[in-house]
């Protein structure tokens, strides 16, 4: 098994999941779809976390993607989920491209907090926009897939299938990207930016590129999240949403492109169980699990799977 590239192994796992999913209860399908959406955002976070950057504002692109889906469906009547994914990713990427001109110069805590400021600005704008439903947000209509209109029982399964296909595709592309010179370059920027620049690489451009990629991923995650829930509101841009993404990034670890999805799944499981078992203390359970992972598994959950030395890809 281990001789196969990570992308294929991951593909097999996803295929197995998909084959079993028609027999899964709807709430579990929903949880898996949300985990897929979060995983997409976190995959982007992982890219710049490799360069030592943590963003407390990735919810900006998640929310932008979700609102793109919401607006396009309601105003233009486009409800094909693949088209929506593309448009949301484009919106996230475009926004990240613009913000990136400013943000790519910042490092450390300033990168995180400045991106937080931008997401809080979007939160403020959306909250005050009466036409966009202000704090209540608005509903997202049912979607179609290439002309196929899934019935009520099939909706969740269809969306999960789409999400799984997207996950597989982007993890292949991201894995390829990390094997290109850009992969080691990110680590080099983290280790010593000035030396990296002496070698002739531009740290700023690399961070900008990765930031746009993360924006696209977060936009697509927002589209899947919005379609799965069927409703969007400004809290998608609030800092606590970004906090959850950072939470999953650190908990998952940066060992592989699969790690973010594993992390998002574990997060979803903890959240679902904690919320149904003890509605008043679910945050405490999440916080305690986060601290436990940081203290006990310095390289995240992925280090449990990557037993072989040097198996990290």
């Amino acid at each position: 098994m281990n001789s196969l590239p990570i992308g294929y192994r991951f593909g097999l796992v996803l295929l197995a999941l998909l084959a079993g999913s028609p027999w899964l209860p709807p709430w579990l399908l929903f949880m898996l779809t949300i985990a897929a959406a979060n995983g997409l955002v976190v995959l982007g976070c992982m890219l710049f976390y490799r360069a030592g950057l943590v963003s407390f504002g990735q919810a900006l692109y998640f929310c932008a993607g979700a609102y793109t889906t919401g607006l396009v469906t309601n105003l233009l009547g486009v409800i094909d989920v693949l088209l929506l994914l593309g448009l949301s990713g484009l919106a996230g990427g475009l926004l990240a491209y613009l913000v990136g001109f400013l943000l790519a110069r910042y490092r450390g805590i300033f990168f995180g907090l400045l991106s937080m400021a931008f997401s809080m600005i979007l939160y403020g704008v959306l909250t005050k926009s009466e036409s966009l439903g202000s704090t209540d947000g608005f509903n997202v209509p049912a979607f179609t897939l290439l002309g196929f209109e899934p019935d009520q029982p099939q909706v969740r399964f269809t969306l999960l299938a789409v999400a799984v296909a997207v996950i597989w595709l982007v993890s292949l592309v991201t894995d390829r990207f990390l094997r290109s010179p850009y992969g080691p370059l990110l680590v080099a920027i983290h280790d010593n930016e000035i030396r990296t620049e002496y070698m002739g690489a531009s740290a700023k451009n690399t961070v900008h590129l990765v930031y746009v990629a993360a924006g696209i991923l977060a936009g697509m995650g927002g589209c899947i999240g919005a379609t799965a829930v069927g409703h969007i509101d400004p809290t998608m841009a609030y800092w606590t949403t970004s906090g959850e993404f950072v939470f999953i990034t650190i908990m998952a670890g940066v060992g592989s492109v699969v790690a973010p999805f594993l992390g998002a799944l574990v997060f979803g499981i903890i959240y679902t169980i904690a919320f149904s078992e003890s509605p008043n203390t679910w945050q405490m359970v999440l916080g305690a699990s986060l601290i436990a992972v940081i203290l006990l598994l310095p390289n995240g959950l992925w280090s449990l799977l990557a037993k072989r030395k040097g198996a990290q890809a």
């Binding site: 400013l102 906090g243 945050q283 916080g287 986060l290 310095p298």
Partner: protein, 298 residues
């Protein structure tokens, strides 16, 4: 002219609150280089402690004007019990790790504390407006203004000046300044850096609790009240320059006045004008207004 007065008073009021809420955060960052996400939870803790203290105080017919002293004492007692314990147990073993990991630990702490507060004080709101009503209000032209806000402004001024004196004029303050500049040399000179950290964290937590305690009489104390304080105080602290005391003061005044202008002329901007100021300041001064130059790592 009336408008100007109103904007000024409103601005000073909000600036005082921002300063009180954020000053503990910058103190902790300045000394320990930790951005404490749980800061807002300590603020909320202060508000709840104040609610209980005031409830007890007025139920037992204690002298009403001493209730302000009671608030002060309660905030510092709570801060210096909770702060050093958390620092010793949770943060101290992690000091040599990446700043983002420590930040995430305080994020986990924030999640935990949110529920701990609910477990202790329940989910029903508390109303303790006695200290607010006690001082009444005063007239300024045609305008009636609650005197309690003047008290808050005075408190902010006192805290700011007190910290300046503490840092510049006392033995403890000088040791703290030397720890800020160089931990290793300070400890080589015989300063117990670990103890300084514990005291600083206790002081920072107390200041957050103090802000919460004195805000409690003006609002209803409810779960989740600290969540927004976190981002607001982050914005103030980063705009001022992380770890800078004059920076926090200037940023708080700037944001307070601009927000008051927005509330008056363009209320739809009110929610995000603070973050816009932050983004604008960081665009032109990437490390905030009063930033300390740092040596580059070659």
């Amino acid at each position: 002219m009336e408008d100007l007065m109103f904007i000024l008073m409103d601005g000073i009021n909000f600036a005082a609150w921002l300063f009180l809420a954020a000053v503990g955060l910058t103190l902790i960052y300045g000394v320990m280089k930790i951005l404490n996400v749980a800061h807002g939870s300590f603020y909320a803790m202060g508000a709840y402690v104040a609610a209980s203290t005031l409830g007890f105080w007025f139920d037992n017919n204690m002298p009403p004007f001493l209730s302000y002293v009671a608030l002060l004492v309660a905030a510092f007692v709570a801060g210096f019990i909770v702060g050093p314990i958390i620092e010793r147990v949770l943060l101290k073993p992690q000091y040599d790790r990446d700043e983002h990991l420590i930040l995430l630990i305080t994020y986990g702490l924030f999640l935990i504390l949110e529920d701990v507060l609910k477990l202790i004080w329940g989910v029903d709101p508390y109303f303790v407006s006695q200290p607010y009503e006690l001082v009444g209000s005063f007239e300024l032209g045609d305008m009636i203004y609650p005197s309690y806000y003047l008290l808050m402004a005075g408190l902010a001024l006192a805290v700011g000046l007190g910290l300046m004196l503490l840092l510049n004029r006392t033995h403890f303050g000088r040791m703290l300044v030397s720890v800020i500049h160089d931990r290793e040399i300070s400890s080589a000179m015989g300063i117990n850096v670990g103890r300084m950290f514990a005291i600083t964290f206790g002081l920072g937590v107390s200041l957050a609790a103090l802000a919460g305690a004195f805000t409690a009489p003006t609002v209803s104390v409810t779960p989740g009240m600290g969540v927004e304080v976190i981002v607001l105080s982050f914005a103030v602290v980063v705009t001022g320059g992380l770890g800078s005391l004059p920076g926090v003061a200037l940023a708080a005044v700037m944001m307070g006045i601009v927000r008051a202008i927005c509330v008056f002329y363009a209320p739809e901007l009110e929610l995000f004008v603070i973050y816009s100021i932050m983004a604008l300041v960081l665009t032109f001064r990437p490390r905030g207004l009063f930033s300390i130059a740092e040596a580059r790592k070659i």
